[in-house]
Symmetry: C2
Amino acid sequence: MGKVRQADIARVAGVSQATVSVVLGGNRTGVRLSERTRLRVLEAAEQLGYVPDPVSSRLAATRNNLLGVYTFTPAFPVDVADAYYPILAGVEAEAAALGKDLIMFTASSAAPDRIRRTRLADGCLFLGRHVPVDGIADLLAAGFPIVYIGRRTELGGRIPHVGADYVSASAEVITRLARAGHTRVRYLREPDDAPSSGDRERGVRAAAAAAGLSLVVVRTDGADLDGPSVRCWLDDGVTALVVEETDTGAVFHATWRALGEAGVSVPGDVSLAVLGRPPAGTAGPVISGFEVPRRALGRAAVRLLASLVEPGSGEPSLHRLLTCPPVAGETIATLA
Amino acid sequence: MGKVRQADIARVAGVSQATVSVVLGGNRTGVRLSERTRLRVLEAAEQLGYVPDPVSSRLAATRNNLLGVYTFTPAFPVDVADAYYPILAGVEAEAAALGKDLIMFTASSAAPDRIRRTRLADGCLFLGRHVPVDGIADLLAAGFPIVYIGRRTELGGRIPHVGADYVSASAEVITRLARAGHTRVRYLREPDDAPSSGDRERGVRAAAAAAGLSLVVVRTDGADLDGPSVRCWLDDGVTALVVEETDTGAVFHATWRALGEAGVSVPGDVSLAVLGRPPAGTAGPVISGFEVPRRALGRAAVRLLASLVEPGSGEPSLHRLLTCPPVAGETIATLA
DNA sequence: CTGAAAGCGCTTACAG
DNA sequence: CTGAAAGCGCTTACAG
C-alpha cells in the first residue's frame, strides 16, 4: 500500500482536495461545511489509512513548530556536561509543553553558513560563552527570531537573551564574606571577557567597595595555580578565596587542587566561595556560593523564543535575568 | 530583508530558477553548465546569503539531511541521564561528522501521531526500553528508514537496530564467578520483559548451566529488597549476587542499599557483579561487571541510519551487536 | 455552503 | 548549453 494523499480521499469522498484539507485541518478558518460532507471525508480518510505529510503541511503553512538549538561546542560535550545538560533538559521540557520539536544544529564551528541553516526552524536558541557576531547579526537583520541563553552585550545589546543575574548573586557572596569578618579577599576569575565573567566581577567589586573590603582580582585559567601560590596568599593575610565558576569548572578545580597541595584546611585556614556551583560529584564539603538556575534558564528561553515566533501575545521583554539563589554551604568561616 | 529564494538568485544572476537549483545542488544529474553561469549563480547566492529551505527540498526531493531522534521519555531525563547522555553524545558526534542535523522529537508518549511526525526527517533513531509496535509498524510499512538503539525482537525481528551483546557479556560475568569458585549465585533482574533484560538472562542461564553453577533468578523492581533479604540469601549459602543494570539503575541501587543495611561487606561476605555499569558517582569500590559501549552505540546507529537513508553504498547489516568490554572491578572474591 | 486556483520553495524530467 | 514546465502534498485566500 503506497502513500495515501488528500487527493485520494477527495476522489473517494467525491469532493475537492481542498475540501479534504479543510475538513482534516479541523476547519480552522471557520469555513461553512455540511456535516454530511465532513463525515464522508472523515470516513474515507479513515478507510484509506491517511497519514498527513508533515513536510507538505509545513511548506504550505510557513510555520513548522520546530525550534532550533545551536551550541557552538557539541551539545553533548564531556567537559561542560554538567553545565549544559540541565539547560537542555529545561529547553526540552518547555518545548514539549508547548508542542514544539527541537532541531539540534550540530555545529563543529561557528561558520556563518552553519548559523544560517538555523533558519530552517521557526526560531533558534543559542548557547555558548561567546557570540559569532557576523552570523548572528545576519539573522537579526533578517528578522529571524533568536534567543541567547546567557546575557549578551554584543551588537549594541540587541540580542534577545535570558541570563542569570550574576551581578547581584556575586555581590551577595562578597557581602556574606564581609559580614563574616573577612577583610582581605582574593578573587580568581576566568581570563577571557565573556559577559558572565564581567558581570561577576562587577558585582564583586561593587560589594567589596561597599563593604570596605580589600580585594585582589586575578585572571587565571588555573594552570599556574599550585600549593606555593596558596601559601603566598595566606602569608599575604588573605582569609578568603572567591572563585569564578564557569562551564568547564577549570578554575575551581585548579584552585581546589592547589589548596589540597598546600595542605590548608577549608574553611579552617582559609574560607572559600565559588561564584556559581562546582560540578556535581566534587567530593568534600558543600562549597558556599550560589545556584545557577540552569533548568529555569532553558525553560524561560524557550518561552521567550516561542513568543517571538508567535507574536500577538503582548510584547515580551527581550532581556531577562533570573535570580541565582544563594547556597550557604560550609566553606565560609566566621572570623572573630 | 526576508527569506532569500532561488528565484531571487536567478533574477540577480540572470538565469532561470531551475538553473540555480541545478548549480546549488552540485549538478547531481550531470547537466552541462557553463563555468561562467555556475560562478555567477554561486556568487549571487553568496551575496544574497541564500539558505536552502530544507522543507521545500524535502518535498521536492524527498531528502533533507535531517535525522530524527525519538526518545519515549524526555531525551534529557533525570533518572536515566547517565544512560542516555553518552548515547546522545555519540549520536551527535557522528551526525556532525556526516553533516547532518538532528531533530529531537520531544515525545511525552508513544502516541502514533507523534511517531508519524518523525517522517519529517530523512530517517529516525528510536531509543527506549520498549517498542510502540503500531506506530513503528506503520513507519516500517511506509518504507521509512528507522534504527532502534538497542536490540529489538518485536515485529518478527524486522526492526533495524544497533544493540549491545548482553548475552555474551553476561555469560562472561557468570563464567568469571565460576572460575573464582562461586557455586551458588542469586541473580536479580528487572521485572519487565525488555530484550535487554531477556538477553542478559539468557547469557546468565547458559553460562551457569555450562559451569554447573546453582542459580536463582529473581525478578524485582528493588522495592522489596532490604537487609533481611540479604541475610536470608547468605544463610542460604549464596556467595555471589549478580544484578542487572538498566537505564535507571533502580535494582542496583536497591541492592546496594540492602547490602549496606544488612551490614555485609563486599566482597568479604558476598561477591557482587553488575551486568552493566552502575551510574557514575556511586561511591565505594569499582563494581565488577562490563561496560556498555553507549557512545559507540550512538555512533553506529547514526551510521546505519545514514546508510539506510542514502542507499547505494552496499547492503548494510540491519542488525548489529557491539561487544561490551568486561570490567574486572574489585567486588568478586576468589573462594578457596 | 463548496469548488477551483494559486502558491509555499524546491528538484527533476523534458524541451529547445 | 539553458529555459520553461510539471509537480512534490499541502493550506489559504478567493470565487462562485
